[in-house]
């Protein structure tokens, strides 16, 4: 009796864990299947490389693709150097004390702030106070700040993973602190840091809320002329095509096509991160 009960418990937990995995994987594949099935017909050279026409129901999504690319690039230009710099300082230079502990908690909390709050913050600071207006630069900076905590935490983990004795060898050769970091720490933390950058940027590319108040436009008949111009972007385009358009049923195929492009973009970035992590693991195994 007792043994039977034990076996039942064993089976119950196995089933529960097994089901968890399946539900997770299944939902990913259902999403992918659904979007690919509905969007694949829309994908063509014209869709990717021409401007929208006729109430955005025809033509392509090139301005949106271009806008997303630019705004992600700007956010990267801000968040990558600042994020890596911050991670290096925290891990290599700062001493462990109450202040650094507070800073770390703050960074962790920052990554939990809802993206719409970043949007509001960006609107206040960049659009209004700095007077950049609704523009690529305001939106890029806002996204940059949003991705900072991700890049910092992942980079710091990567730096922590570099064995202490690499630093010791460097010092034993009379290396200065920066020399030791440059020659014996960064090269081995780089795959991890790059993973952090990619995860951060792929999140930035897919966000709608932070750019909503800071620079994205519903429709523009031209491409942005400078970093102070408004722009169109994939996630926002997806949002309007699926909820805001005057004839939603006609807009649906465009929405699916846009979703597919966006998801492929983000998946490609993530795939690249996975490859980098795989390479990193190989270095360690050697």
């Amino acid at each position: 009796m007792k043994l039977k009960f034990k076996k039942f418990i064993e089976l119950f937990w196995w089933l529960f864990l097994f089901a968890s995995v399946n539900v997770t994987i299944l939902s990913l594949f259902v999403i992918l299947y659904f979007i690919i099935k509905n969007g694949i017909n829309k994908i063509s050279f014209e869709f990717l490389f021409s401007a929208p026409k006729k109430g955005m129901l025809e033509g392509g999504i090139f301005p949106q693709l271009f806008g997303t690319f630019l705004v992600t690039l700007i956010s990267g230009l801000v968040s990558v150097p600042l994020g890596i710099g911050c991670a290096i300082y925290l891990n290599e230079y700062s001493k462990e004390n109450i202040l650094t502990r507070i800073i770390r908690i703050a960074i962790r909390n920052l990554s939990g702030v809802p993206s719409i709050v970043f949007g509001l913050f960006g609107f206040l600071l960049f659009v209004q106070i700095f007077n950049f207006g609704m523009s690529l630069i305001s939106a890029g900076l806002t996204l940059g700040i949003m991705t900072l905590p991700i890049i910092i935490s992942v980079s710091e983990e990567a730096l922590k993973g570099v064995p202490i004795y690499y630093r010791e060898i460097a010092y034993s050769f009379g290396a200065t602190k920066w020399q030791a970091i440059k020659t014996a720490v960064l090269p081995y933390a780089l795959p991890g840091i790059l993973t952090g950058i990619i995860i951060g940027l792929s999140r930035a590319a897919g966000e709608t809320a932070p750019i909503l108040f800071t620079g994205v436009a519903f429709y523009l008949p031209y491409l942005p002329k400078s970093i102070f111009s408004q722009f169109m972007a994939l996630p926002y385009h997806l949002y309007i095509m699926s909820t805001q358009h005057h004839s939603l049923s006609k807009a649906r195929p465009v929405a699916y096509g846009t979703a597919l492009v966006l998801i492929i973009l983000v998946l490609m970035l993530n795939l690249y991160a996975i490859i980098l992590r795989y390479k990193k693991r190989k270095i360690k195994l050697e």
Binding site: Y165, Y166, E168, I169, Y171, S172, A184
Partner: protein, 253 residues
């Protein structure tokens, strides 16, 4: 006073969190000799070794008292550039720890740190260092392979070559063979014996037979104190202190 003294330790104490890890050490280390440091775990022998190239600077809450003179210069003097000290005093660590890069790049590492860019010089230095470390013949055909492809003993000899490339006067070795098998250990020992013509070698070892085999002088440390320091032969045949004899004969430790 002996003219051959290269390292002179004078009333040297090392405190870690106000605990005295090294207690008033006085010791003269001679040039072109191999000096072994033996003693039970936690006796301060590694701390002592790392005091000679100031690798202990990174330990938080530490404090030193007294002097260590290298070529007559107190390395703990405020005016001393620690970077110069470390270029003069090379170090080989316990575990073979090449960087995950090619054999060539590993040996050239210290030269790169010193800012040497002359490719010709670097190439010749890498070659001569690998020859000095008695590993040239084994690696000359695969200099640009990853150093991790080598066996542990070979890796350790590459690490020794890496330390030699920057032409130190003194070579500190922290249990360099403790992670190696007996054959590889023997090779390292032969290597060290051949190196003492050019370098002064200070080696921390757990292995008393090793100290007896290769060193000219042996220092026995216990609980942070230098108990006895003399010619190796004397330490192993007729130690003047009873506790040294007990340790040597394996009654504790």
């Amino acid at each position: 006073m002996n003219n051959n003294v290269i390292i002179s330790v004078k009333n040297f104490s090392f405190y870690y969190n106000e605990v005295e890890a090294l207690k008033n050490i006085n010791m003269d280390i001679e040039k072109n000799k191999i000096t072994s440091i033996i003693g039970p775990s936690g006796c301060g022998k590694s701390t002592f070794l790392r005091s000679i190239n100031r690798m202990n600077d990174f330990i938080p809450n530490h404090r030193v008292k007294g002097e260590i003179l290298i070529d007559g210069e107190n390395i703990y003097d405020k005016s001393v550039d620690v970077i110069k000290i470390r270029q003069k005093v090379g170090m080989v660590f316990q575990k073979p720890n090449p960087f995950p890069m090619s054999i060539f790049e590993n040996v050239a590492y210290g030269l790169k740190i010193q800012g040497i860019k002359d490719k010709n010089y670097i190439y010749h230095k890498v070659e001569s260092s690998l020859k000095d470390a008695a590993i040239w013949d084994e690696v000359k055909d695969r200099l640009h392979h990853n150093a991790f492809e080598l066996s542990g003993g070979q890796q350790q000899r590459v690490c020794i070559a890496r330390a030699l490339a920057v032409e130190p006067e003194i070579l500190l070795l922290d249990e360099p063979a403790s992670a190696l098998d007996p054959t590889a250990t023997l090779k390292i020992e032969e290597l060290l014996l051949s190196l003492k013509q050019k370098y002064t070698i200070v080696i921390v070892t757990h292995n008393m037979q090793q100290a007896a085999r290769i060193s000219d002088k042996t220092a026995f440390f216990m609980l942070g104190e230098l108990i006895e320091y003399d010619d190796t032969e004397k330490i192993f045949t007729a130690p003047s202190k009873k506790i040294t004899e007990e340790y040597i004969t394996g009654r504790f430790g």
